[in-house]
């Protein structure tokens, strides 16, 4: 691996051609503009929706059973006479969890800060592939639109909790929200994962290949180390959630029994046999557990760098910090599984 790449001065890399409004602000390949797009879509737009949902839940908990004009205004038919329906409460829990964990904390945080800071702090002109970066954002935007659209479905949005354990999420008879709402949820998540993978691959390639002269791996700012490791965890664990989502779609729409078995609901026995919801739990938490590090690590990296810079000091124990970031990321994955094997 070369420590840096030489840029041919005749190649005219970073210099952007004459840009129209569309190439500059909408289908932009510039990492700074994409970072801003992520900030607006992920953190501001989805963040506000997520916070509003939590406020509705809090209002319900603060004055249970009492009619509230706010519910009537925001929830319409889901709050007859201003009393919140039990189904929509679960739907709020589900959508709030999904939006906050995936859209704000994963895509919003990584998308904004990784895109903005990785090229700047590495001394690269832009991301390894500006085009992939653009595709990644627009897939994210598409999944955002689908997720927000699913809130307005007639039978209600997904309401099986953000972990969407089957059979509750798989059988429409179990819950109104497990119909079209859950289908849209799964489609949105599948697109979201594709976007996240493209983004992560781009970050990894940029960090490995596009460091400027002299920027060795052990001189990289801790922020970039954190983003780098976060991207690696994302690439390892998100595909597992994708497979779980696809298998769930198969169970829901094509009659397979990956996660379902022996179900009697509303007076009828369903045909599913031989599957196990526990399999879904394992597949989900193969992402769910690393997900907390995907959320935590960028914040750790940013805090380290901000505090060190503002104290006018080098970060204390730089190499130890890199080692701990790597340990946080991979130790639980590797050793957790080994310990589980021994326990079984």
């Amino acid at each position: 691996m070369s420590e840096y790449i030489e840029i041919d001065p005749n190649e005219d890399h970073g210099h952007h051609h004459k840009e129209t409004f569309i190439t500059k602000y909408i289908f932009s390949q510039d990492h700074k503009m994409i970072a801003k797009q992520y900030l607006i879509t992920g953190v501001l737009f989805m963040g506000v929706i997520g916070i509003l949902m939590s406020l509705l839940m809090r209002l319900q908990i603060a004055w249970p059973e009492e009619p509230n004009i706010i519910f009537e205004f925001f929830l319409g038919k889901w709050a007859p006479d201003g009393v919140m329906d039990a189904d929509i409460y679960l739907a709020l829990v589900t959508m709030h969890g999904t939006i906050m964990v995936f859209f704000v904390l994963t895509a919003g945080l990584s998308g904004t800060f990784s895109n903005l800071l990785i090229p700047l702090q590495l001394g690269a002109r832009d991301m390894a592939s500006g085009f992939l970066n653009m595709v990644s954002f627009w897939l994210f935007f598409l999944s955002t639109v689908i997720m927000v659209a699913s809130i307005f479905v007639e039978a209600g949005p997904a309401a099986a909790g953000w972990t969407i354990y089957p059979p509750l999420s798989a059988v429409e008879l179990a819950q109104g929200g497990s119909g079209l709402g859950m289908t849209l949820w799964l489609v949105s998540m599948a697109i979201f994962i594709a976007s996240s993978l493209l983004g992560s691959l781009n970050y990894i390639v940029t960090v490995i290949n596009l460091r400027t002269k002299g920027m060795t791996l052990t001189r990289m700012p801790l922020t970039i180390w954190a983003f780098f490791v976060t991207a690696i965890i994302g690439v390892i664990s998100f595909p597992v959630l994708l497979s779980a989502a696809l298998l769930l779609i198969m169970d829901r729409s094509f009659g397979t029994s990956f996660f379902l078995s022996d179900i009697f609901i509303q007076g009828e026995v369903l045909h599913y046999q031989g599957g196990s919801p526990v399999l879904f739990e394992h597949l989900f938490w193969f992402l769910g557990h690393p997900e907390v590090y995907i959320v935590l690590l960028p914040a750790l990296g940013i805090a380290s760098e901000v505090i060190a810079t503002n104290s006018r000091k080098p970060i204390f124990g730089y190499k130890a910090m890199i080692l701990s970031i790597l340990a946080i990321a991979f130790y639980p994955q590797l050793f957790g599984d080994i310990i589980c094997l021994f326990l079984e």
């Binding site: 004009i69 706010i70 009537e72 205004f73 039990a86 189904d87 679960l90 829990v93 099986a160 909790g161 354990y165 089957p166 059979p167 509750l168 059988v171 179990a174 819950q175 379902l260 078995s261 022996d262 179900i263 009697f264 609901i265 007076g267 026995v269 046999q273 031989g274 599957g275 196990s276 919801p277 526990v278 104290s311 006018r312 000091k313 080098p314 970060i315 204390f316 124990g317 730089y318 190499k319 130890a320 701990s324």
Partner: protein, 360 residues
């Protein structure tokens, strides 16, 4: 519609205030130009330093107030099962440890932010590595965590280990949206085979028992869970539709109910319902609840609605995994009683073979 206008007006008011503040800011720049520098001076640093210290004092004071006002020591003490005290001890050890570490590290965080605040003429001390120190503060937490986790694992395997020699009563907990059923295994202490495919609502075979299995004949299906005190119980959990979780908080017990699978959990109840009602903590708690209910009843009476009955303590089996619309209300009463009371109650229940409705 009026709500919409109210929100719109509120939005405009906030926007107006924001704009006024912004204009005010802009006017300030020109008049006090010399002080508009972005670089923090000694005064700024001092204010920030004292704010850090102030926040430290704030969180300590809040903690102390919470302890005095809401503190309930020891944290958990009224478990009603033999193994419950082990879980309570584990909880207590973890909480004390976490509390100690939190108190100390928060002190360092805010105190150092105050002590080493920026000051003109003070130069940052270059100090980038100390392997001994790093080694120390990595190894100590690692050891403490290993001890905690091992302690937790040992407690868990101890609780989950059901001793068959003690001859536990076998009871099935059957979960469905949104209620619980209990199935006692009867005199043979063996549950009959069952599968949801055998459910026949018309014949009142609601749990899908195998009618031809000799073990199933004396099984007893109930909607209330009665347990004799001091006798080990082994629960076998089943679910007919979605994931549920059998949660018995007073007995420190919980296990998922998975469709297509049988899970189990065993414990020995040690305090009867009557005894639990007489404990001083419970009397105080019930008094509090009933005071609130009495107040609410007064309110309801004025509106001409039905008043609330006074609350009486009962052990509960709850569902602890989101299972749909009425998940919040999926519960079953648990009664722990003496062996005589239990025998009397169980003899009044109908056996499975007698509960079936004959086919026409």
């Amino acid at each position: 519609m009026s709500t919409f206008f109210t929100i719109l007006i509120l939005f405009f008011v906030v926007t107006a205030i924001w704009q006024i503040v912004k204009i005010y800011d802009l006017t300030q720049v020109s008049t006090v130009a010399k002080d508009s520098s972005q670089i923090a001076n000694d005064k700024d640093n001092k204010v920030n330093g004292y704010l850090m210290l102030g926040f430290l004092i704030f969180i300590y004071v809040i903690t102390i107030i919470c302890f005095i006002r809401y503190g309930d020591f020891p944290l958990m003490s009224n478990s009603a099962s033999v193994h419950g005290s082990k879980i309570d001890d584990l909880m207590m050890v973890s909480m004390v440890l976490i509390f100690f570490v939190q108190t100390v590290t928060q002190f360092f965080l805010y105190y150092f932010a105050y002590k080493y605040k920026g000051q003109k003429g003070r130069k940052a001390f270059f100090y980038s590595d100390n392997h001994k120190l790093e080694f120390l503060w990595t190894i100590i937490p690692a050891i403490v965590l290993t001890v905690l986790i091992t302690y937790g694992l040992l407690t868990w395997s101890d609780i989950m280990n059901v001793d068959q020699d003690e001859d536990p009563i076998v009871i099935e907990l059957y979960a469905q949206q949104f209620n619980w059923k209990a199935r006692y295994s009867g005199e043979d202490n063996a549950l009959g085979k069952a599968n949801v495919r055998l459910i026949d609502i018309d014949r009142a075979n609601i749990l899908g028992l195998d009618e031809f299995d000799p073990n199933a004949q004396d099984d007893i299906i109930t909607t209330e869970l009665h347990l004799p005190v001091g006798k080990p119980v082994l629960f076998k959990m089943r679910s007919q539709d979605v994931l549920h979780s059998a949660y018995m908080p007073h007995f420190r017990a919980q296990m998922n109910c998975v469709p297509g699978m049988i899970t189990q959990f065993g414990f020995t109840p040690s305090v009867t319902t009557a005894e639990m009602r007489e404990t001083p903590e419970m009397i105080e708690k019930i008094l509090n609840i009933n005071n609130i209910r009495a107040e609410k009843s007064k309110e309801l009476q004025e509106k001409g609605e039905e008043v609330l009955d006074p609350y009486e303590f009962d052990y509960l089996l709850l569902c602890n995994k989101i299972c749909g619309k009425s998940h919040y209300n999926m519960q079953m009463k648990i009664v722990v009683e003496t062996q005589e009371e239990f025998d009397k109650w169980i003899n009044q229940q109908t056996k499975f073979k007698n509960s079936l409705i004959a086919q026409k």
